[in-house]
């Protein structure tokens, strides 16, 4: 490793770190990415859905690169509200999602991350894997570099912490305390091998196209979260993700939860005959806006999961990581031109975030989780109500429809119309 100083040290070769490094390396800055995994992606887990627009802003037309590790472009997204033996499905499919910049792709993160880190290297960044950052180096109150677990010291004008939800760098720099179980979700997932034709048959897909599905209701066993199933080329990603504090309260191991999920009648048919290729687990920062650490300080910036930038209501994270990483990188480029890496200068990063969807979206959903949690109804009452109403709507039992309607109104009245209206109103923020 070169010992002369860098313009920037990026900690973590995930979507945030690589995006930051690309922005800086392209502007001619001397950049190094340090990744603790044996290779980029080795420690990274995601569902995974990649939203194209934010990557397109960094790697234009990336989907035309045959090397880009993409699985399937998504034409259909479904939400499924379950009871133990029934479910209501709401979904939308359109080929419009493939036009122009395709809306999103499923990806397998390890493959994608290796490809993406390669792009940073091509842009001129040095990428070192297998290097664990132990601490930051401070001088005169500002951050001037990092120390690796091997004891090497590396110096730079700026350190950008993109080291994920458990950000050791942000903690060591004193910007963040340990997260609480209520601020994170614990996700566990399996990649299940299944031939492409079977996937396309089961999800009624054109060859090569994909679908995603999130399931709520009884399937989360009274915990706040959801189950997801995504179609890859020749595998399915099946996962659970619920608040860590809920797993803690219930004493449930997510791997056991996943086993029960596999036996739900809806999931069972989709995964029948599939062969498990890998099991994984990871934390998802869900404190969002309210858990955000200081984003800029003297010689320091942070982006992506390390900065809590996940919009859980919309299952967005890696896109926020890419945008925040890019904006952090662009901020450092400006600071380099000014020759000033003080917190005051670097805080223009926060202004850039404020002008982007990142800030607006995180601010918009900041009270959503609390609103959902205030009413235990979302975990049991509403999923059942949705199923009961659907049952009434679709049953032909010889009774006049008027009686069905009366019965439906009675079901809602049991909870109180005003209460229902009050409880459902905050959900609009996750509806559009």
């Amino acid at each position: 490793m070169a010992d002369d100083a860098f313009d920037a040290i990026v900690v973590g070769a995930g979507p945030a770190g690589v995006s930051a490094a690309i922005a800086m390396a392209r502007a001619g800055l001397k950049v190094v990415i340090l990744e603790r995994g044996e290779y980029p992606g080795a420690k990274n887990v995601q569902g995974a859905v990649l939203y194209s627009r934010m990557l397109h802003e960094i790697i234009p037309d990336f989907w035309k690169d045959p090397e880009a590790a993409l699985e399937r472009p998504i034409v259909e997204q479904k939400t499924c509200i379950t009871t133990e033996d029934s479910w209501v499905t709401v979904g939308y499919r359109s080929q419009k999602f493939l036009e122009g910049v395709p809306n999103c792709y499923t990806i397998i993160r390890v493959r994608f991350d290796r490809w993406y880190a390669e792009k940073a290297a091509e842009a001129g960044a040095e990428v070192y894997a297998g290097v664990k950052v132990e601490d930051v180096v401070r001088e005169n109150g500002g951050i001037v570099g990092i120390r690796t677990s091997e004891g090497d010291e590396l110096r730079a004008s700026v350190v950008i912490a993109c080291d994920g939800v458990n950000s050791i760098v942000a903690q060591k720099a004193g910007f963040r305390k340990e997260l609480r179980p209520a601020e994170v979700a614990l996700g566990a997932k399996e990649v299940l091998g299944l031939p492409a034709e079977k996937i396309e048959d089961r999800f009624a897909l054109e060859p090569g196209q994909g679908a995603t599905m999130e399931l709520f209701g009884s399937i989360t066993e009274g915990m706040l979260g959801y189950v997801f199933i995504y179609t890859n080329k020749d595998s399915l990603s099946l996962g659970v993700g619920c608040k860590l504090s809920d797993y803690q309260k219930k004493g449930i191991r997510p791997s056991d939860h996943l086993e029960r999920v596999k036996r739900h009648p809806y999931i069972k048919k989709l995964i029948s005959g599939a062969k498990t290729l890998e099991y994984s687990a990871h934390l998802i920062p869900e404190g969002g806006f309210k858990s955000m650490p200081p984003l800029a300080a003297d010689g320091f910036l942070t982006a992506g999961d390390a900065a809590q930038m996940v919009n859980a209501a919309y299952r967005e994270g890696s896109n926020l990581a890419m945008t925040s990483g890019r904006l952090a990188g662009e901020t450092v480029v400006e600071a380099k031109i000014k020759g000033d890496f003080s917190g005051a200068t670097l805080s223009s990063y926060v202004d850039k975030l404020r002008r982007s969807y990142v800030w607006s979206d995180l601010e918009e959903v900041k009270d959503l989780e609390a609103a959902v949690e205030r009413s235990e109804g979302f975990l049991d009452f509403y999923p059942r109500l949705a199923n009961d109403l659907a049952y009434l709507r679709f049953s032909v039992d010889g009774r006049p429809k008027k009686e069905h309607l009366k019965q439906a109104i009675a079901l809602v009245r049991k909870r109180g119309f005003l209460r229902v209206a009050k409880e459902l109103w905050p959900i609009r923020k996750a509806a559009i």
């Binding site: 420690k43 997260l179 803690q248 056991d256 086993e259 687990a281």
Partner: protein, 113 residues
């Protein structure tokens, strides 16, 4: 009184369900030569043995790193199972788990992630 005397963790898994041990079998690890997880107090007077009734590390850890050893009245730590999610540090009600990362390049190596 020791709360641990009553601690039993039994999970009723559906028939044919895969255990977490079997799931870990799908994974590749580069085994770290030294533990990256330690209990701050692992002795007989530790909070695990005296105060922690629920033992969320034992019940929730997605890699079953933590097991309650009733005979010795202590938590056993199988750090080599760890898939590095970081949940245990937050789960422990007594802040008794010091969980660092394995040294650079060591630990779990996801192929899919």
């Amino acid at each position: 009184m020791s709360v641990s005397e009553t601690f039993k963790h039994e999970v009723a898994l559906p028939e044919g369900a895969e255990t977490v041990e079997a799931k870990l079998g799908y994974l590749d690890y580069k085994k770290s030569p030294k533990p990256h997880i330690a209990l701050r107090d692992g002795g007989p007077e530790s909070p695990c043995a005296t105060r922690c009734a629920d033992k969320p590390c034992v019940t929730v850890c997605p890699a079953k790193v933590y097991e309650w050893e009733d005979a010795q009245k202590k938590i056993l730590v199988a750090y080599e199972n760890c898939i590095e999610c970081g949940a245990c540090r937050m789960l422990c009600p007594f802040d008794n788990i010091a969980c660092d990362w394995p040294a650079g390049g060591f630990g779990v190596k996801y192929k899919y992630g």
